[in-house]
Symmetry: C2
């Protein structure tokens, strides 16, 4: 039997819940999600449960971070299934606000903008996405007041942006990065994977295979960015149903393009299949 | 003898101080200032002390909200005098961080932007000012974690912007507006008044006199915005040393221009004297 966890729908109620925990002297973790929980989310929840006495899993599909209305409409929603799944991994509360609760003043006039780090990669392909994400993360942190918040490395640029935002704004939370979880064939776990057609699903593992190919060359001594990118593109060319949004090698800390790998670098890929846009990355550690 | 208040210089220390107060079950008020405290600030501190058991007065001249380097360089600084003054009005802690403490990661990449409300009035005249202000207020709120924060109505646009930002971001603080405090001759209290030459100081009360003139007409039934603005400008024309930045009548809630006063409206004025730019306003209540 699953433990019963409260499903909290209002900001004031989740804040009271979190403050009550703090008043008892225990730590609170937050795992922000858009629901449709998969093993990737569960690994974040398990990590949070290992480090914090109380774990809030927020489930909110944030319209403000979708630059594509079709993507928003198609985004999977499954709260009834998500609640017991989150509980089984260690969640002790679910925060599932409505859109009206999160945006009770109507379209927000306030945006949290993080510059530079959002210029490239998905920032270039998805205008407004990172401001929408950073704004809702600020709102979720203000609502849940966690000691720690857990983010996956699959969305690496998001992780870098959130970490910098928390530093810049002096928010009282520690951002904890967690490794990407993969299907047996290497495909990075994503809620969007469920939208792939069988043929697309068959090609999707080429994304991680392309990253592994470049990584192997890097380990064998290759440091030239153009060559590493070329190796990845060569494998990705097999994904004939998808269009490459980008294959880029950037500095792992500030996300600026690099021509030779001198310090830790991020090789990041986005492929647009007809049914879903997928992203993945690998950090090439010097 | 003044009560001794701690002068806290780090974010982590003021947060601990605030959390200790909350753990004792008492409320914390914040009065954010740029120092050079005058009677206007003291009225905010007294109000905070009447409503909160603990009162933090922050003193930080925030470079990010100055669009004019000369204005920043000329801004008065007097922490040694400010500490006992704040204490005498009821402050129980002073938060006086250095620039290095507030911007320890260098120039911030993160900006809190509030749209629409910042388009007109001082937003038009001071590009970047409100983003800088909103960003530092977010940081001060995150550092001090107050239950209430006190803002003067003299900076009316700032008050409207901060209130909306707190609502939009679901920050756990109540913004308390406080009435403008004036010199005997009507001049609104401002740290910048000290910079006026004797001749400028003599003309400066024309600003509040202009507002009173329009207000009197409004009370007598005048509702036409152009006429109310004309009346104010007529008085302001006597301030021959100053240049009018703006004289505008806007909706008191959303700050959009109005042509007739149908609901509460704000008549706002900015005058640029050679030594300092001064602002003032009156709310015309329907």
């Amino acid at each position: 039997m699953q433990p019963a966890v409260p499903v909290v729908e209002t900001i004031s109620a989740i804040r009271s819940w979190s403050r009550a925990a703090r008043a008892r002297g225990v730590s609170v973790g937050l795992v922000p999600t858009m629901g449709a929980l998969h093993e990737g989310h569960l690994s974040l929840i398990r990590r949070a449960a290992a480090e914090c006495a109380e774990v809030i899993v927020s489930v909110f599909v944030n319209p403000m971070q979708f630059n594509d209305a079709r993507d928003l409409a198609a985004y999977p929603r499954s709260l009834d299934a998500d609640v017991p799944t989150a509980a089984s991994a260690g969640a002790t509360a679910i925060f599932a606000p409505s859109e009206g609760e999160m945006y009770s003043f109507g379209a927000p006039l306030t945006r949290v903008e993080v510059s530079r780090l959002t210029d490239g990669l998905c920032g270039a392909a998805r205008p407004g996405h990172f401001a929408g994400m950073a704004t809702v993360v600020t709102k979720l942190l203000a609502a849940c007041e966690p000691d720690r918040a857990y983010f996956g490395e699959k969305d690496y640029q998001q992780l870098v942006v959130v970490t910098r935002m928390v530093d810049d704004l002096n928010l009282a939370v520690r951002i904890v990065p967690c490794p990407t979880v993969r299907e047996p064939d290497g495909l990075a776990m994503s809620s969007r994977n469920a939208r792939l057609s069988p043929a697309e699903r068959e090609q999707a593992p080429l994304i991680s295979r392309a990253l592994r190919s470049a990584e192997a060359a890097f380990r064998a001594g290759e440091r030239d960015a153009a060559e590493l990118v070329r190796l990845a593109r060569e494998v990705l060319a097999g994904a004939t149903l998808g269009a490459m949004d980008y294959v880029e090698l950037v500095d792992a800390r500030d996300l600026t393009p690099v021509t030779r790998v001198g310090r830790d670098a991020l090789l990041a890929v986005a492929v647009r299949f007809p049914s879903a846009r997928l992203i993945d990355n690998v950090v090439l550690r010097v």
